[in-house]
């Protein structure tokens, strides 16, 4: 009987790709076969979407073929995973093929569900896909005067600071265009403050007040009326708009829901330290797919992938390893000409710090370096 283990990774976003590349570095061919199943075969660097919308980022620069990023030892199957059967230890893809696994890593990410908020699809723009980022860029380019309202259509959503980030960045761009005095910017926050992290909130609020960005707190969007151009909250408020930017509600991936592996939102119940799917010893979940109450972000995905790759590789080699994910997240929030740097984990709350241009420079550099470092699991 072959001792070679089958590792199957569902999803080729940052989480699945980093895990696959790390495993390929740690394990010899005779120790394991590593397979990534990805629906599109295209890898999108999603933090770049903000720069497609408001910067000069060419959309082509934030997408690469997954096969070019994956280590040569990793097999890529471009197909949609349609069923995960944890009893038979098998993943089925749309073409009908079945793959058996000894270890499964669920890295299926989040799915945008604009249809969950009535009127959102017709009435609002967003920047969470390349197509929508381009559509919003055009709309903003044609916008000369009126009221721009920015918010989120539901929780959770990828990158919790993103709505505040695009608000500050948009203010900066409109000032550069010298039309800011003709435009009202109104920010809607689901929380009692403008920024998700309480200790950072005064810093962002200072920017909002200085730049005359209006805001309404405790505004959780219930519906959009695209004819009257109004957005309604479940707290009972109504706000009018000329241009609405609303991040659509997210759910877990369809294959998770179809396989009965998710909670009510389709998120995979995951142990916050071991990253094992609750109730399983051979199934892990990383990245946006999990139900963990942490930022759905590439940084979390990256640190989680390291823990899981290390533990699986050690187990295959017969070495004892009990690496734990410590909740680490790094975030650089771009305000247009500066950025706020945040670094925290389960045991260390984020430290408040003012925006600095150097952090923005680092963020812009990382946007380019991602492809050559993190995605390829180099220098990790």
């Amino acid at each position: 009987m072959s001792m070679r283990k089958n590792i199957v990774i569902v999803g080729g976003g940052p989480a699945g790709t980093i895990a696959a590349n790390l495993l390929a570095k740690k394990l010899k061919k005779e120790e394991a076969s590593i397979t990534v199943i990805d629906k599109t075969g295209k890898h999108v660097y999603e933090p770049g979407l903000l720069y497609v919308t408001l910067g000069d980022q060419d959309p082509k620069g934030i997408v690469k073929d997954e096969k070019d990023i994956l280590n040569k030892k990793v097999r890529l199957i471009v197909n949609e995973a349609t069923k995960i059967d944890t009893k038979k230890k098998m993943v089925e893809v749309k073409s009908g093929d079945r793959l058996n696994y000894d270890y499964l890593i669920i890295a299926t990410g989040a799915r945008l569900c604009p249809e969950e908020v009535p009127g959102l699809k017709e009435g609002a723009y967003h920047f969470y896909t390349i197509e929508e980022a381009i559509r919003l860029k055009k709309a903003l380019g044609n916008f000369e005067k009126g009221k721009i309202v920015i918010g989120v259509g539901g929780v959770p959503y990828k990158c919790p600071p993103a709505p505040a980030e695009i608000t500050c960045f948009l203010d900066y761009k409109l000032r550069k265009r010298k039309i800011r005095e003709r435009v009202d910017i109104h920010y809607l926050s689901p929380l009692p403050r403008v920024f998700p992290i309480e200790s950072i909130d005064p810093i962002v609020k200072e920017i909002f007040d200085k730049e005359e960005i209006k805001y309404t707190t405790f505004f959780n969007v219930e519906s959009v009326d695209p004819v009257r151009k109004e957005v309604h909250s479940l707290e009972g408020e109504t706000i009018g708009y000329d241009l609405l930017i609303l991040i659509p509600p997210h759910r877990g991936s369809k294959v998770i829901e179809d396989s009965g592996l998710g909670d009510r939102g389709g998120w995979v119940p995951t142990d916050r330290y071991t990253l094992k799917v609750k109730g399983y010893d051979d199934v892990y979940s990383i990245g946006d797919a999990t139900d963990l109450p942490i930022s759905k972000s590439g940084a979390a995905a990256h640190y989680e992938a390291k823990v899981v790759a290390n533990n699986i590789a050690s187990e295959i080699k017969g070495i004892e390893s009990h690496d734990k994910y410590n909740g680490k997240v790094i975030c650089m929030c771009d305000t247009g000409n500066k950025a706020i740097y945040l670094n925290f984990d389960y045991d260390h709350p984020p430290k408040p710090g003012h925006p600095r241009w150097i952090y923005r420079l680092l963020k812009l550099a990382f946007n380019k370096l991602y492809w050559h470092t993190v995605a390829k699991a180099r220098f990790l």
């Binding site: 539901g154 929780v155 959770p156 919790p160 600071p161 689901p190 929380l191 009692p192 998700p196 992290i197 309480e198 405790f218 959780n220 479940l234 707290e235 009972g236 009510r264 939102g265 916050r272 963990l292 109450p293 942490i294 930022s295 909740g327 997240v329 975030c331 945040l342 925290f344 389960y346 045991d347 709350p349 984020p350």
Partner: protein, 80 residues
């Protein structure tokens, strides 16, 4: 504050800072059926102020805040 009620869903948001316990509660309330009871574990002292504020504004019911060792369990019922 009497005996602790049985919750339909418990969210462990201890030691997490972003998006934070209130955002986790809002998510659970959105997903819950009317009448269901949600418990949130939070080690963030701000939650004891923020969560009751939101619950009252959104028209739900705060059942209670139960102090534990180093965290609180905040229990909310979805009312509409």
């Amino acid at each position: 504050m009497g005996e602790e009620p049985k919750v339909d869903r418990l969210i462990d948001a201890r030691n997490t800072f972003c998006p934070g316990p209130l955002m986790e509660l809002i998510r659970a309330i959105r997903e819950a059926k009317v009448g269901e009871i949600i418990g949130v574990l939070s080690s963030d002292t701000g939650s004891k102020r923020d969560i009751p504020l939101w619950v009252s504004k959104a028209g739900h019911k705060l059942i209670g805040i139960y102090e534990k060792a180093g965290y609180a369990e905040i229990v909310v019922q979805k009312m509409k």
